[in-house]
């Protein structure tokens, strides 16, 4: 088996009968037993994060500070925990197990991330190459996060509430108009010009109007988010459904399907890979609109928090908030992909993302 894997790299598709697809990853290739040199190399790779964390801690404790005021002590604890954690993981991975596989794959990335932290600290706190207050060191950002987590958490809650409301409304509306456009020529005739003219206008450009039309700023922002989602979802759904192979409909008709069945059991599932692209694009633009709307109109949320702390020149809090935004939005995207994996399970082994 293991000898096959190296040969298999580069060969992608397997035809003929049912064959379970195997993923030949870097990890499996590295984990192959032959040769002491290879094993040693693997061990060294898994040790890298320990080295990186030790260096980070060493630099933080030993190197003299250039940016003097208010060194945050929790950062030292964090680095200590990081070092201990990496060491424990390394120790566990000395025996062959799933942990070893996982660590082998992720160790270089983990080491690089910790290395980046060290680099950040060097150019700010340690060497003072970048000016304060705009470029605080990692210790101060951690401090800001620990100090202000309640307000950041509340802001995140408001942002997510707005995001989900707007996204769900926009995605549903986009699905409905997209299906109607893809299915019926009449709908396509009347809706597509509106789409072509209104769609490309950035949703944020509607902010002044939205603020007047809707009674609350929450409703105004939610509808802007919805508008930003609606456009790509409609376009992709419409085009996905219009491009479903006609033979699918013909076969379905001879099997006794009526129009309703054709739409829900043939057109939508067949078009879903394209529909998903629309959902993904819509999610991207909804993030943008969300943050901008909060910065301008809504008095809550992560966008509001950023512009507020910027007003106080508390840049460490700006960075803390940016990190939270990155974490939340990437999790939301991961969630969307999980949803896709469930719905498009039939594409597994057929398409690579």
């Amino acid at each position: 088996m293991k000898t096959v894997i190296t040969e298999k790299e580069g060969v992608t598709t397997v035809a003929s009968e049912v064959i379970p697809q195997e993923r030949s990853s870097v990890a499996t290739a590295l984990a192959a037993p032959p040769g002491l040199g290879r094993a040693l190399r693997g061990t060294l790779i898994r040790f890298l994060p320990v080295v990186a964390a030790a260096v980070a801690l060493g630099v933080h404790v030993q190197a003299p500070n250039q940016q003097t005021f208010a060194i945050n002590e929790q950062y030292q604890t964090l680095l200590g925990v990081l070092l201990a954690l990496n060491f424990v993981l390394f120790a566990i991975s000395l025996a062959p197990s799933k942990v070893r596989f996982w660590l082998q794959e992720n160790a270089p990335l983990a080491a690089a991330s910790v290395g980046l932290l060290t680099l950040w600290e060097l150019v700010t706190l340690k060497l003072g190459l970048l000016p304060l207050p705009y470029f605080p060191g990692p210790d101060k950002v951690l401090g800001a996060l620990l100090e202000d987590w309640k307000l950041i958490g509340t802001s995140a809650f408001y942002s997510l509430r707005l995001l989900f409301t707007g996204y769900l409304v926009g995605a549903l509306a986009g699905l409905v108009t997209g299906i109607l456009m893809g299915w019926s020529k009449k709908w396509h005739y009347w809706v597509s010009p509106v789409m072509k003219v209104v769609g490309p206008v950035p949703a944020t450009a509607w902010i002044p109007l939205a603020m007047v039309i809707f009674p609350t700023s929450f409703q105004a922002s939610a509808s802007l988010v919805a508008l930003a989602v609606w456009f790509p979802v409609t376009v992709m759904t419409g085009s996905g459904i219009a491009n479903v192979r006609n033979a699918f409909f013909e076969v379905a008709r001879t099997l006794g399907a009526n129009d309703r069945f054709l739409i829900f059991r043939v057109a939508i599932p067949a078009a879903f890979p394209t529909i998903f692209v629309g959902l993904f694009m819509g999610l991207g633009s909804s993030f943008l609109v969300l943050i901008v709307a909060e910065m301008i109109g809504v008095k809550a949320g992560l966008g509001w928090y950023i512009s507020w702390v910027q007003g106080w020149a508390e840049y460490s809090k700006v960075y803390a908030c940016l990190m939270v935004i990155a974490l939340i939005f990437s999790s939301v995207i991961a969630l969307l992909f999980k949803f896709r994996d469930r719905v498009l399970v039939w594409q597994k082994g057929l398409i690579k993302w």
């Binding site: 009968e17 001879t254 099997l255 599932p269 082994g349």
Partner: protein
């Protein structure tokens, strides 16, 4: 091969499934507005339980005729009946299998085979049929496989099971084995014949393979192009099961090739 004792497959072959095609004409317009006669005055009568093939070169209208019978295309003139009911559109009584299996790629083998029962809202009553038909086409154990995991032959078996699970009176096959390799093809011919003899369903299939037509059909409708029309109807008198290497088989083969003007000429120096 597989003898199945379940109730679904044991239903007595119905004495229905007769097709009448009377003076059917179909004209296509090209981009310039010129007429191409795809089918001219086609007349056809198929008995219940008969296995009939439409044979001819491309452009002879054989697929057009099949699509019209399936209800996917409308004739410009003429009348069509299944038993006593006029054909006006697609219906599950007239099952269809294309050359491309056209399996719903988002559904498993089981999902594909049960599609018709779900579409007609009778899946609850007929749940057992799905497995029976998957077994009938020899794909037991592949219920949860997705179409892209199947070979061409297996996919075509699923398409066959998907059409048959609806108990169609007539099964229409449009070059069903055209995309398969020669050996899989011969194997599938036997499979289709076995199912036909089991179920007694009327079958009408399009082919451009003379051997296939002789091996399988009770009657061969030979068609010719420009304009597409029925040229000759040949009764295949060979007893079943048939041998692909029987002298009578070759005799019939050369007769059909002559009708189609594809026999070729024997040059004199051939014997020297």
């Amino acid at each position: 091969m597989v003898t199945n004792s379940s109730a679904a497959l044991q239903e007595a072959p119905e004495q229905s499934g007769a097709i009448y095609v009377k003076d059917v004409r179909r004209v296509f317009l090209n981009a310039k507005g010129e007429e191409t006669v795809a089918l001219e005055r086609a007349n056809l009568e198929i008995q219940p339980g008969e296995m009939v093939s439409l044979l001819g070169p491309s452009g002879c209208g054989k697929s057009t005729l099949l699509r019209i019978i399936a209800g996917l295309d409308k004739p410009d003139a003429g009348e069509l009946y299944l038993d006593d009911a006029p054909i006006s559109g697609p219906h599950h009584e007239r099952g269809l299998v294309f050359q491309d299996p056209t399996l719903f790629s988002w559904l498993t083998v089981e999902g594909n085979v049960s599609f018709g029962l779900k579409a007609r809202g009778i899946i609850k009553e007929k749940k057992g049929d799905v497995d029976d038909y998957i077994r009938l086409v020899g794909l037991d154990g592949f219920q949860n496989a997705y179409p892209h995991q199947l070979s061409g032959g297996m996919a075509q078996r699923v398409a066959l099971a998907r059409a048959l699970v609806n108990h169609p009176k007539v099964l229409l096959l449009d070059e069903p084995l055209g995309a398969l390799d020669a050996f899989t093809r011969m194997q599938m011919q036997d499979e289709i014949l076995r199912i036909w003899q089991d179920r007694g369903t009327t079958m009408l299939f399009v082919t451009h393979d003379v051997d296939e037509a002789i091996y399988m059909s009770d009657r061969i409708i030979v068609m010719s192009p420009r304009p597409g029309k029925i040229q000759e109807v040949i009764e295949v008198q060979l007893s079943r099961p048939r041998a692909r290497n029987h002298p009578d088989f070759f005799l019939l083969r050369s007769k059909i090739l002559e009708i189609l003007h594809f026999a070729g000429e024997i040059s004199e120096n051939y014997y020297l």
